[in-house]
């Protein structure tokens, strides 16, 4: 397991330059459509909302340092500040000192809780539910219903591929799970789902509840260890298995992992899959932090960890990261008829949807405010459809658009310029509809 102490020296790289508060902090001349979307932009969800330095990563790094030096004692008040962060990783992308900001924030949360401070109320609630034998999910739904959405193979130990559905797919967005299962079937991937599957632990780890995380990680690793490949539809589960499990367990994964979009991407780029059906709409794409930026940063880090010459290899690492960021775009561009329009903040500089890191659960006002800013940015492209592939992004954007619609009804104002008419679409759903 990692700890904040192990990150002490990485945390000490922070010189409090505050570049991490911006998207495109190193691209001041980036061209944009107007004054708002040009050059660098303040883009920290927590910091933008509260304004105090402690809600920006730059302030959090110095709180972590004070904590490590024993100057700042752990408290509920401190946890409240540290938890109001979506852990989107925009700050890590900006940091020219390569500080693993998300790791430090998550480990700081864990260290505060390990020192005896109770997790925040709603975070504790989801942690407790994940431990309850008859639930094992943060949604308070019965464990027995976990695979109720599925009419295919269940608990087949002879299969080589298992679909890790995740709690949101199993209980809240069954349509995404169904579309994913349908895509896999169309692509000829035989798979099974497991009724004993438990929460991946993503919201638990993000909110600092590491003891619970360790339990679910162990269970999942053991449960799936005999499969060759795990496929995912949930961005959070995928990131947790791919990045967190190896790091937190200290061992490589016993199976391969792939997001369903990875499989589609591979087939398209290998020329084995062609989408024929057109989608004649104006579309923009939101990069989910968990599958895009977090994985990109992990790729970059893995290259640098092996390097004895960062002067040269940092460029190679940055290229590999950029190539990862390009992958969903390759899939989107393979869809005929689509008028694809990029938002201003994209890829590593993408602005978060506002839901991650336990924020939607505990700080809904931050989540709403952030999602509204992002749908406004999407609307500024002139798109009709905001496409993404993450259950939390989908939920948060849908909530934001619904709130705008309600506001329109109440005030009679036309809010289409800020996103009230946007259709929020999961890319997996769209692909299923377009694939034969």
């Amino acid at each position: 397991m990692t700890s904040l102490e192990e990150l002490r020296k990485i945390n000490a790289r922070c010189i409090h330059c505050r570049a991490c508060q911006y998207a495109y902090s190193n691209e001041p001349d980036r061209e944009g459509a107007d004054e708002e979307y040009t050059g660098m932009m303040l883009s920290c969800p927590g910091g933008n909302f509260y304004g105090w330095e402690g809600y920006f990563n730059s302030g959090r790094m110095w709180m972590a340092r004070a904590f490590l030096e024993g100057d700042l004692k752990p408290s509920q008040e401190m946890l409240e500040v540290v938890e109001a962060c979506t852990t989107c990783g925009l700050c890590a992308e900006q940091c020219t000192n390569y500080i693993d900001t998300v790791d430090i924030i998550e480990e700081l949360r864990a260290a505060i809780i390990e020192s005896g401070v109770e997790p925040l109320k709603r975070h504790k609630m989801i942690g407790d539910r994940v431990l309850e034998e008859d639930k094992r999910n943060p949604y308070n739904d019965p464990r027995s219903d976990r695979t109720a959405w599925h009419d295919g193979s269940v608990d087949d130990k002879n299969m080589k591929v298992a679909y890790y559905v995740g709690c949101t797919g199993a209980y809240r967005q069954q349509d995404v799970a169904k579309h994913t299962a349908s895509i896999l079937k169309k692509l000829g991937v035989d798979f099974t789902v497991l009724t004993e599957e438990v929460c991946c632990g993503s919201p638990i780890l993000r909110t600092g509840q590491k003891d619970i995380f360790k339990i679910v990680m162990k269970e999942n690793l053991e449960m799936f260890e005999n499969y060759d490949l795990l496929v995912f539809s949930c961005a959070g589960c995928y990131r947790t298995f791919k990045v967190d499990y190896p790091r937190q367990s200290g061992k490589p994964l016993p199976f391969k992992v792939a997001h369903t979009l990875d499989i589609v991407y591979d087939l398209i780029t290998e020329g084995k899959l062609k989408i024929e059906k057109p989608y004649n709409k104006k579309v923009t794409w939101h990069d989910p932090c968990h599958t895009i930026r977090h994985i990109g940063l992990a790729i970059e880090k893995a290259i640098l960890e092996k390097s004895d010459n960062w002067l040269l290899d940092s460029r190679k690492a940055a290229k590999a990261k950029e190539a990862w960021y390009e992958r969903p775009r390759e899939v989107i561009r393979a869809i005929p008829g689509m008028d694809f329009r990029e938002m201003y903040r994209i890829k590593g500089n993408s602005f978060c949807c506002g839901a991650g890191g336990g924020v939607k659960t505990q700080f809904p006002e931050v989540a709403n405010d952030t999602a509204r800013e992002r749908v406004k940015e999407a609307a500024a492209t002139g798109a009709e459809v905001l496409l993404t592939s993450c259950p939390f992004c989908i939920t948060n954007f849908t909530d934001a658009v619904n709130a705008l619609k309600k506001e329109e009804e109440e005030t009679g104002k036309d809010l289409s310029a800020v996103g009230s008419k946007l259709e929020i679409v999961e890319l997996l759903q769209l692909l299923d509809e377009l694939l034969d």
Binding site: I15, H16, P28, G39, E53, W62, T96, N97
Partner: protein, 506 residues
């Protein structure tokens, strides 16, 4: 030592009444979030309360409350002066986070912009790019986007055109200042009701110099009128190498001394040495023998000239003349100043404003400090030789940066101390290094630009006693209760420490 009172609950209530509950906090975690040690300074004390005023009127009222309570006040916005953007004395008192005051007005006819303290360079650059692409705000070069224009200006800092126009303070056309008494006034022509900030020397003797470089220890600057500069779009970087500091400093002077013509086109002239590149990467993950640089043809010392021109023809002419001057110098000094072959990405990186070039030195060993000195341009090579030797002697890599100010009239010499901030005793070692070099440099008539209040300031003032006395007098007139933080200059000394005063022995 001056006795200050703690910030009581009663004082916090008064501050809340001024700014509203949302903008006042005594939360311990939030107070710690403002801390910084490194970059420009190591001295930092935890503030007792942080307040985010919205306007000058709120600042006036806060200062009056602080005066009544005898609470020290430290203003900050970008906070990039490291520890020195924070309280440096006990108790920490009131930290004013001025980021909410971020209004900016631009007057292209009179070529001036008026900025509040919270206008960040990144934002100004973005807005100029779209609204006034033919003009540039004088943002600092090399500073991160969160640096503020006003912060840089009142620090007499370094801007993207300092090589041509001089220190940032020379760009000031007028200031709006609040004194600790709550009195508010403007300087220059701006002092006249309804007048524009068009003439710095305005309606009478100008006190700007008392406030520029004081880090807010004389009064809080709530607005500054700053010159904007033309932003021609034909730009490039040209670099020449040399085998010593002398051989990169002297040819740059040969260009600068012309002052007009090509010298005016070279808006930024700055140089360095191999370690300046190497220490931007982790010590354990970068080749330390410099063979790599030799292999790719980078000389051990080099000087960049950033050239701006209104046409390709003008740009080409300037580059040609620069090359001729270097060639003449080579013949005169029987040396080689090879033009460095810069990759287009290197050129683009240097032209980028604001950029993050100054940031990654924390990567080398997780801690760094910029120490800055001014000296006559042609003396800078001697300073850098001495500095590099001292750095190596103390076990620091000899990471050195130099830049021209005002057509190579002065040099800003900046050693970058890369150190491991978690190493026990490291701050004592840095202090010892600072004392040794400062004693030597002051003897040679060189001036520290960002003094450490416990090292550079007392050593400097012990050799400029009359000036120090005068500054103390001014300070006491403007701030009789000494509530404003003492800044880097530690004026008066008694507001900082009980240690012997620089005037000891008199």
């Amino acid at each position: 030592m001056v006795e200050y009172n703690k910030v009581t609950d009663e004082v916090v209530k008064k501050l809340v009444a001024i700014c509203g509950e949302k903008y006042v906090t005594d939360s311990e975690p939030l107070r710690y979030s403002y801390m910084a040690r490194g970059i420009m300074g190591l001295e930092a004390v935890l503030p007792e309360v942080v307040i985010r005023p919205a306007n000058t009127e709120e600042i006036r009222k806060i200062l009056m409350v602080a005066n009544d309570n005898l609470s020290p006040v430290t203003p900050a916005a970008g906070g990039l002066s490291g520890g020195f953007a924070l309280p440096a004395i006990e108790p920490g008192g009131i930290l004013m986070d001025l980021t909410r005051m971020n209004k900016m007005e631009v007057d292209t006819e009179n070529r001036v912009m008026i900025v509040e303290p919270g206008v960040r360079c990144g934002d100004a650059w973005r807005i100029f790019k779209k609204k006034w692409p033919e003009w540039a705000p004088p943002i600092p070069d090399g500073a991160p986007p969160g640096a503020t224009i006003l912060g840089d200006a009142i620090e007499r800092g370094f801007s993207l055109v300092t090589g041509r126009y001089g220190p940032q303070a020379d760009m000031i056309m007028g200031l709006e200042i609040v004194l600790p008494s709550g009195e508010l006034f403007r300087t220059g022509s701006w002092a006249l009701d309804g007048a524009k900030a068009f003439y710095r020397w305005g309606v009478g003797p100008n006190p700007d110099g008392l406030f520029l470089g004081s880090q807010g220890s004389m009064g809080i600057i709530t607005k500054a009128a700053v010159k904007i500069v033309p932003h021609p779009h034909f730009k490039t970087i040209v670099a020449y190498g040399g085998d010593s500091w002398e051989h990169i400093i002297e040819p740059a002077w040969e260009i600068g001394k012309y002052e007009m013509g090509i010298s005016d086109n070279t808006v930024m002239v700055q140089g360095g040495n191999w370690p300046l590149v190497m220490t931007r990467w982790p010590k354990s993950n970068v080749p330390l023998d410099y063979k790599f640089y030799e292999k790719i043809g980078i000389d051990e010392y080099w000087m960049n000239s950033e050239v701006w021109a209104h046409s390709q023809e003008e740009l080409d002419f300037t580059l040609k003349r620069i090359d001729e001057i270097y060639k003449d110098y080579e013949v005169k000094k029987k040396t080689v100043c090879k033009q460095q072959q810069l990759h287009p990405k290197q050129i683009a990186s240097r032209l980028k404003k604001p950029n993050l070039i100054a940031v990654p030195y924390g990567l080398y060993e997780a801690g760094f400090l910029f120490i800055t000195w001014y000296c006559p341009w042609l003396e800078s090579s001697k300073m850098m030789e001495e500095y590099c030797a001292a750095m190596e002697n103390y076990g620091f890599p000899p990471t050195m940066w130099v830049a021209s100010i005002d057509h190579a009239r002065q040099a800003i010499v900046m050693p970058i101390l890369c150190f491991d901030s978690s190493e026990p005793g490291i701050y004592d070692k840095i202090r010892e290094f600072n004392i040794e070099t400062t004693k030597s440099f002051l003897k040679q008539g060189w001036i520290n630009y960002r003094p450490d209040p416990f090292v550079h300031a007392p050593l400097t003032f012990s050799k400029s006693k009359e000036y120090y006395r005068m500054l103390v007098k001014f300070r006491k007139v403007l701030d009789p209760n000494l509530i404003l933080h003492p800044g880097r200059l530690a004026i008066p000394w008694a507001s900082v420490t009980d240690s012997p005063s620089p005037l000891e022995g008199e």
